[in-house]
């Protein structure tokens, strides 16, 4: 495997060719904030939190999609980037009804943690406060659109790992909504295997176990570990599986 060297925030790090900048930085102990990215799922590039500056380019690039190159100069925490990340979180908080005090994920929520980490102490934009429904038709889980940030982790987990593709998106723009089945109540979707992976990968309180009250919903670290491992071993990557089988 070829090793390349790149400069991240004036420090030299080495990475395997073919890795993304995000993977390389995290492997070397650094961090780039992400929201839609989850190790083990395919990349999406929608949250724009992992944007980085590349030396010599005025454009910002998403770290989750940018491949490492020899001699690359990367800046992950410039003033401009920190400002934009805060704005992204502010926009997300203003989009739907993120009211932590009554949320099942209070204290375990990735959006909440990210807002705290980035120092978002107020939202300058008007809250849009849409009136959105909840879906409690499933026997085990609840879907609350008010907490959804449309990161599509549930969609990717269900499609790529479970292979059910229960989740999808309806509408567009600000009217986008995650839907189950053919826009039917979750409980009526007969392709759902009730595996609960979508609930485990959801960064906010949009998907939760039924019966959990405020701040009671906790993630199962074993499940997330398993999602990640499966990716690394190439369990749900068709090409990797094919090459692995060919080697046997």
């Amino acid at each position: 495997m070829t090793v390349v060297t790149l400069t991240v925030n004036d420090e030299l790090i080495s990475a395997n060719a073919g890795q993304t900048v995000l993977e390389a930085v995290r492997d070397s102990g650094g961090n780039i904030p992400t929201m839609c990215h989850l190790d083990g799922l395919s990349n999406y590039g929608g949250c724009r939190l992992c944007l980085i500056e590349l030396g010599g380019s005025p454009k910002l690039s998403p770290a989750c999609f940018t491949q490492v190159q020899e001699g690359m100069v990367v800046f992950t925490h410039t003033d401009r980037l920190i400002k934009y990340r805060k704005m992204v979180i502010e926009l997300l908080l203003s989009e739907r009804n993120h009211i932590c005090a009554v949320c099942v994920m209070n204290g375990n929520c990735e959006l909440q943690a990210m807002a705290a980490e980035l120092g978002v102490d107020n939202v300058r934009y008007d809250y849009l406060s849409p009136k959105l429904a909840m879906d409690a038709s499933h026997e085990l889980f609840t879907l609350d659109h008010n907490r959804c940030i449309l990161c599509r982790r549930c969609m990717r987990a269900c499609d790529e790992i479970e292979g059910s593709h229960v989740w999808d998106i309806s509408g567009r723009g600000i009217d986008s909504m995650v839907i189950t089945g053919l826009n039917m109540p979750w409980g009526e979707s007969d392709v759902c295997t009730k595996c609960g992976k979508c609930v485990q990968v959801c960064p906010t309180g949009a998907l939760s176990k039924k019966g959990s009250s405020v701040a009671e919903m906790k993630k199962d670290p074993v499940c997330l570990r398993w999602v990640l491992d499966g990716r690394q071993k190439g369990i749900w990557d068709y090409e990797k599986r094919a090459t692995r089988l060919a080697q046997v």
Binding site: Y84, S94, E95, Y125, I169, R172, G173, I174, D175
Partner: protein, 562 residues
């Protein structure tokens, strides 16, 4: 069909046309149809029959003749004199054209457009040269005017790399708005490795007020097919797709027309396997979009062609490396592909003589707004905006003064009066905060309210955002809300700061061109008309008359009526 048979087909069509002493062409493109061209065509045919002149006069539908504001348009071609162009033809005038102009040889002076009419004098019709002179449904008429000669020439005498080099030398740049050099793109696709390659014609034209691609497709579909086949030969593709916007008014009719054109080209061995008896085969299929503006973005377009949800993915990889189903794909706008045969026929050197240092050739604009004459124009690059507005457009309507020209639709910006002498050029437009875009050009007068214009375009972008990335999905909504407050007179100066901040953030962080360009109308109007924004906020007053603020409750409160 081989080259000799192609020439024979052209010859026999010319002879057929010579049999008629007059040909009456009635514009049948969308704008004239909406002005009643369908009825006019029927009347023309009826009165030819009534006078028993079927053998002397041919009445035929045709493509766009340009002056859309004075539609329906009719051209009378005579074997012994120049073409006569008629404007505002009603069924009554249509009858007179046959009975008085043709039979009695006394033209109808009220409706005639003089041959030195300024609207046409400053134009340079290369891509639109045949538009309005041929019946788009008949493949023979395109062949009679030299159609498919470029394809025959390319297949017989040129290698793919020579074709790419010719396009590169011509200086043709992507006409969809990006302005990326077409020759470079072709070469990239040609050099990429892949067992299949694809060519896509992007006909997902969605800018409000722009209809260049639609007109090209409905006026001269074979020109596009020829351009695509040449592109396919140059890059090594065997399959092409025309991605047509589903939301066009009368889309089904247009799709039928395109389908007919493709079928007749296939029947005549100009598409399909072994084109013109060469070893090159190329097929073209239609793909209809589900009506999303974002599908004009190339990665979203490809997703839609593949049957997926039309939303963009980050680049790289670029379509030239990994496009449709992972194969190298060439995506060009309809106007770029329609220019190809012209470039091959006229030579790259002659094409590159037209225009400025950076922008070559001609550009089609859909000229609209408060002008005397509006319609579809084709002008050489490097012509000034003043010439377009005052010479071609005939100046402002009576009692109105020029305030700004909005170019590039929701991704472009406004050009104020102080920049009227700017040349049409990709870089010069970018410098002043606008863009040539795909070719929408709306002229605004002193009654237009600029914050309201920005609000209109932001509303459009908000509706058309796919919702994938946060800055575009939520940012367009938040900026729209702020603009709405400004136009209602209920915003504060803090909102203006917030608005500018958000605009720059959206420009820099959005995933695709839609979100990155969505703030352009705001930023350019803020740059040139900041006082108007401030008047709305501070004085609750709008200097322009066409503004909502005059009806706003806040103004009533200010005036003591509340």
């Amino acid at each position: 069909m081989n080259k000799r048979e192609l020439e024979a087909a052209a010859q026999s069509e010319l002879e057929r046309q010579k049999k008629f002493c007059h040909r009456v062409l009635c514009c049948n493109s969308t704008s004239c149809m909406s002005a009643g061209a369908g009825e006019v065509l029927k009347t023309l045919q009826q009165s030819v029959e009534d006078n028993n002149l079927q053998k002397e006069i041919e009445v035929s539908p045709a493509g766009c003749m340009g002056l859309c504001s004075a539609g329906p348009m009719v051209t009378v071609q005579s074997s012994d004199s120049e073409n006569t162009l008629y404007k505002e033809v009603s069924p009554k005038v249509a009858k007179e054209i046959i009975e008085s102009h043709i039979v009695k040889e006394t033209p109808i002076d009220d409706n005639i457009i003089p041959s030195d009419f300024p609207f046409f004098a400053k134009q340079m019709k290369l891509v639109l040269a045949h538009s309005g002179l041929i019946n788009p449904a008949r493949f023979e008429e395109y062949v009679a005017l030299g159609g498919y000669n470029a394809l025959a020439h390319v297949l017989r005498d040129m290698t793919p790399s020579e074709v790419c080099e010719t396009i590169h030398k011509s200086g043709l740049r992507g006409r969809g708005g990006g302005g990326y050099p077409a020759g470079l793109k072709w070469n990239l696709v040609r050099r990429s490795q892949g067992s299949h390659k694809f060519v896509i014609a992007n006909c997902d034209e969605g800018d409000p007020g722009a209809y260049m691609d639609r007109t090209l497709v409905e006026s001269n579909p074979h020109q596009l097919l020829e351009g695509m086949a040449i592109a396919g030969y140059a890059v090594g593709a065997d399959q092409g797709y025309i991605f047509v916007r589903g939301g066009y008014p009368g889309a089904s009719k247009r799709l039928d027309q395109l389908e007919t054109a493709i079928r007749s080209a296939e029947r005549n061995n100009l598409l399909g396997g072994r084109i013109l008896n060469s070893k090159f085969g190329f097929r073209i299929d239609l793909r209809v979009g589900a009506g999303a503006f974002v599908c004009g973005e190339e990665t979203a377009l490809m997703a839609s062609v593949m049957g997926r949800r039309g939303q963009p993915v980050p680049r790289p990889p670029y379509p030239s490396d990994k496009g449709l189903w992972g194969y190298p794909t060439l995506i060009n706008n309809v106007e770029s592909l329609s220019s190809v045969s012209t470039i091959i026929n006229h030579g790259a050197e002659n094409y590159s003589k037209i225009g400025t240092t950076g922008s070559k050739g001609t550009k089609i604009f859909a000229l609209a707004g408060q002008l005397k004459y509006t319609g579809l124009i084709e002008v050489p690059m490097g012509i000034t905006l003043r010439e377009i507005v005052y010479d071609i457009g005939g100046g402002m309507l009576d009692g109105r003064t020029f305030k700004a020209a909005q170019t590039g639709g929701p991704s472009g910006g406004c050009i104020p009066a102080e920049h009227l002498d700017i040349e049409i050029d990709y870089e010069k437009f970018r410098e002043i905060g606008s863009s040539v875009g795909s070719g929408g050009l709306i002229v605004l007068d002193n009654q237009s309210c600029m914050p309201d214009l920005a609000r209109f375009f932001m509303e459009f972008c908000m509706d058309e955002s796919c919702g994938k990335c946060v800055p575009c999905r939520v940012g367009t909504r938040q900026t729209y809300d702020i603009l709405d407050n400004i136009t209602k007179g209920s915003a504060t100066m803090d909102d203006l700061v917030k608005l500018e901040d958000l605009c720059i953030m959206m420009q820099e962080t959005s995933l695709c061109g839609l979100g990155q360009a969505a703030p352009n109308p705001i930023l350019s109007t803020l740059r040139y008309f900041r006082d108007e924004y401030e008047a709305h906020i501070k004085d609750h007053f709008c200097p322009a008359t066409e503004c909502k603020i005059t009806k706003s409750p806040i103004l009533d409160l200010v005036n003591g009526k509340g």
